[in-house]
């Protein structure tokens, strides 16, 4: 199946050209990050089709996964 990917801010550097990715059916977000070379430790928020998601959530064909890093400086 194919997923759309949107990496935000500092996460882009891990896979700058990534826009979509071909993966096995039923893959979880954590497995997806592993395949795409994104360290889960760098991710604070994940959205699937705009909805807040957890790392163990299984994905479906055509979904869009967006990831944001933790930003905390002041």
């Amino acid at each position: 199946m194919e997923l759309e990917m949107k990496l935000f801010a500092s996460l882009r550097k891990f896979n700058p050209e990534l826009e979509s990715i071909e993966v096995d059916d039923g893959i979880t977000i954590l497995e997806l990050f592993d395949k795409a070379g994104i360290p889960p430790s760098e991710v604070a928020i994940v959205l699937v089709n705009g909805r807040h998601a957890t790392l163990d959530q299984p994905l479906h064909d055509g979904e869009t996964v967006a990831a944001f890093p933790p930003i905390a400086g002041g």
Partner: protein, 275 residues
């Protein structure tokens, strides 16, 4: 929000007469405050109530309206953290004419602050951030009351939050931000949250009970700024967005929603997400 304790109508009449006899709004405000023993910000609020703008707020008029300006003058806002974000936030709140500001920071300025923290300069190295902010506020607007608190957020008395209408989260660690979220919840005060790291930043309004910061940070206890640092332009931008969100909240122009605005200044991308 502070209320004018003496009879507002009566004081407004006196102010109107003073404006007529002196021909100068500023002198009339000064005289009213002195004669009646009321804070200058309250005398200014009375002027706004008469649809008369003190000159220093004239350029706010078209945006805020006289009712809005009056409301800001009668508002009390707490700014937690007076570093990169907090300096710019205080600067803009004072110029907006927010009547009372509580500024909290336990630190003194050092050389590493000079690239971005508005109130740091060669002469203020070693000075407490609260003292520097107080000095600055007094130079800009003598009607605004600034209450400096040079302590750690976690050590504050509960009464620090008394009568506070709005809190600005300009802190720099996740645990202290979560503590502030808890205080906002305990005292039913909304928070304007801002955070920065490198080219990136985020802004959100945290409504009491929403636990939005817990949803943003999850299990993370450190942000990307540890590796990326903070350049001068990101805090200025994020602080500006925070203040415009805060002013909308104070004026009742903000509807309740749990959204976060992310700014990526490297690729010029803006993303508004709902959690």
């Amino acid at each position: 929000m502070s209320k004018i304790t003496k009879n507002e109508e009566h004081l407004s009449q006196i102010l109107e007469q003073l404006i007529e006899t002196t021909g100068e709004v500023e002198i009339a405000i000064e005289t009213l405050a002195g004669d009646q023993g009321i804070p200058k910000r309250e005398a200014e609020a009375l002027a706004c109530g008469l649809d008369i703008f003190p000159k220093r707020y004239k350029a706010n008029a078209g945006t805020l309206g006289s009712e809005g300006q009056k409301r800001l003058l009668q508002s009390k806002v707490l700014v937690a953290g007076l570093g990169g974000l907090g300096g710019h936030v205080v600067e803009q709140l004072v110029r907006c004419g927010v009547g009372e500001l509580v500024g909290i920071d336990a630190d003194n300025f050092d050389e590493t602050n000079l690239n971005r923290q508005l109130y740091s300069d060669i002469n203020s190295i070693g000075l407490s951030k609260t003292e520097a902010a107080r000095n600055r506020v007094a130079k800009i607007n003598d009607a605004v009351e600034f209450y400096p608190i040079t302590r750690k957020l976690e050590d504050l008395e509960g009464n620090t939050y008394d009568d506070v209408d709005l809190i600005f989260d300009c802190l720099d660690t996740i645990p202290s931000r979560l503590h502030l979220q808890e205080m906002g919840e305990r005292y039913s005060i909304p928070l304007v949250h801002g955070a920065i790291g490198g080219w990136f930043g985020q802004v959100a309004v945290v409504w009491p009970g929403s636990k939005l910061l817990s949803n943003i940070y999850g299990t993370k206890r450190e942000g990307i700024e540890k590796a990326l640092g903070n350049p001068p332009f990101t805090p200025a931008l994020i602080a500006t967005l925070m203040v415009s969100e805060g002013i909308k909240l104070l004026l009742g122009k903000k509807k309740r929603e749990n959204t976060v605005l992310f700014a990526d200044l490297l690729s010029n991308q803006w993303q508004n997400i709902t959690l």
